[in-house]
Amino acid sequence: MSKKSTTDGEDSLVEVVDLKKHYPLSRSLFFSAHADAVRAVDGVSFAITRGEVFGLVGESGCGKSTIGRLLVQLAAPSAGQIIFEGRDLDSMTTKDRDLVKKNLQIIFQDPYSSLNPRMRVGAIISEPMRINGGFSRAEIGKRVADLLDRVGLPHSCVDRFPHEFSGGQRQRIAIARSLALQPKLLVADECVSALDVSVKLQILELLDELTKAFAVTLLFISHDLAAVRYLCDRIAVLYLGVVVEVAGKDSFFRKPLHPYSQALLSAVPTVSEIALERIVLRGEVPSPIDPPSGCRFRTRCWKAASICAEKTPPLIDVGDGRLVACHFVDAAAMNEGGKRAEVKSASL
């Protein structure tokens, strides 16, 4: 796998190289024979360009949240590198890393559990500033008021508690907190999944607006393809701990190349009269403890052949900034390979 294939490294803010996170299983009497670890993330490489919104999509258990946690240093990788602004986070001293961590912030999925119920909103939003220091009281007050304005909440919120707010408003508070230190990279982990559609769209609009206003790079993790389509510039599709496809948003939604991407996209029910040929996959995602040999998707893939079990398909560049890991997709096949899932707009 060529590690520099996504960007030339110059303008990339974060680069992840062959990142792995294995959670060892405690050896019990029953499983002592061979099971060793849950391979949550198993060799993932990608680079996020400064200022872009990068989407990470995939189903439960594909490792997308783990990648988010690794990036903001909430978990330590088992192997691989995370390179932030050209510096490897792993080889830094703890002191240096603490300085970098200020630039890495995260918004979580559930705004009910990510805000301390016993803290007032003002204290929640200002906490990162107080912890990191360097702000006077007046500065903090001004900053909190400014952040509340930006996320569309009244100043009177500072003295109220999280339980007084709805889910969407809480997510706004979480967003304000995440921007308090003006981070360079913001990780949004399923941050709209718990919200109703109308509120979801508001939060997506807000994120869109704020990432531009604060010039922050966003890693948007979601299983919701509609949300990803709304917000992201580029998308990486994960399956069972590995990246199967990386593509620009428009080309991805016009013509997904990897069979898994095609199935994923076709499975989303839509209101619009855009009809993708529905591909209903057989079976379920295999266990990340003992993933299939070769291509991990082969057990559910309708194109699978013997080569898929023998060889792991590399993530190859098929042109147009797209990377695909499939034995049946190459640059030549790109022109007709994706046709099957091409969007057919019905006449209205």
Binding site: E59, S60, S166, G168, D196, V197, S198, V199, K200, L201, Q202, L204, H223, L225, A226, A227, R229, Y230, F253, A263, L264, S266, A267, V268, P269, T270, V271, S272, I274, R278, V280, L281, G283, E284, V285, L348
Partner: protein, 340 residues
Amino acid sequence: MTTAANSPLLEVKDLETKFFGAGREFTAVDKISFNLNRGEFLAVVGESGSGKSVTALSVLRLMPPQGRITGGQVIFDGEDLLHLPGHALRQVRGNRIAMIFQEPMTSLNPVLTIGDQIVEALVVHKMMGRSAAREQAIELLRRVQIPLPEKRIDDYPHRLSGGMRQRVMIAMALSCEPDILIADEPTTALDVTVQAQILDLLKRLQAEYQMAMILITHDLGIVRDCADRVVVMYGGKIVEQGRVADTLAATAHPYTQMLVDIARNLEGESHRALKRNAWAPFQQKNQWTGCNFYDRCPEHVAACRDNEPPQVQLTREHCVWCFNRASAPARGRNGRLYSS
């Protein structure tokens, strides 16, 4: 079946359900009426707090202690379920009207094998012997496409994935060949590829068993994909109902229009500007007495504030509760006028 073939299978009339607590009351379902025909696939759509789940629970009188059905009728097969004595109601629940829930883990008993749980329904309702019931349970698991059903039947729920558990729930619901299957957000907790499998399965089984289905969902995409008819709920009331194709192509209520606009925006189909005031979630109305949607509605008129909106019949099956449609014809997609 005692009722005539052309009368509806289930008739909900002026159903009202309230929740009581701390000296206050909250009307979750506000005098709604709808019908379900034999073999029909009906979707009930709405956001959180719209009363869609409470409606489903009220039909089977599965209310939590704080909730009470305070009025109306639910007529199934000529009988009002709301006034049925307990033993007669239990003959309907699970037997003739079955229900599946959003979270399959919490609706399965973790200390019994899935076989025990399916067998129980067959023994109670079909008076089957245990070994015959077990055979039947295996057959049901095969019907819902669980691999190796002979082995799986002795598994406990925690050994199954979310999609498999939902299949078990469906198998259990089908065990008595119900007339009606109520599915409350059956795929919300599942991944999209598994959701596609489950919806596919539900559609196929519905045709195979000739059941009527009530699918409760917040996803208009699923409605378009599966249902024949749709009921749109907001703030405990039905705001619009009709055939899915008509309703989505010619939305008549501003709330339905808003849901469709949002969905189209997210799908990258439309860039129709959305009106921001329409976006706050529903709150119990206190400053006005009229239409629930009054405060969010981009098209409200003076009458909406203090008067209940009238029911307007647009076509034989498509009707809406809105002052704006009382005289004007329905709008088509993108605001075009729709003439029928």
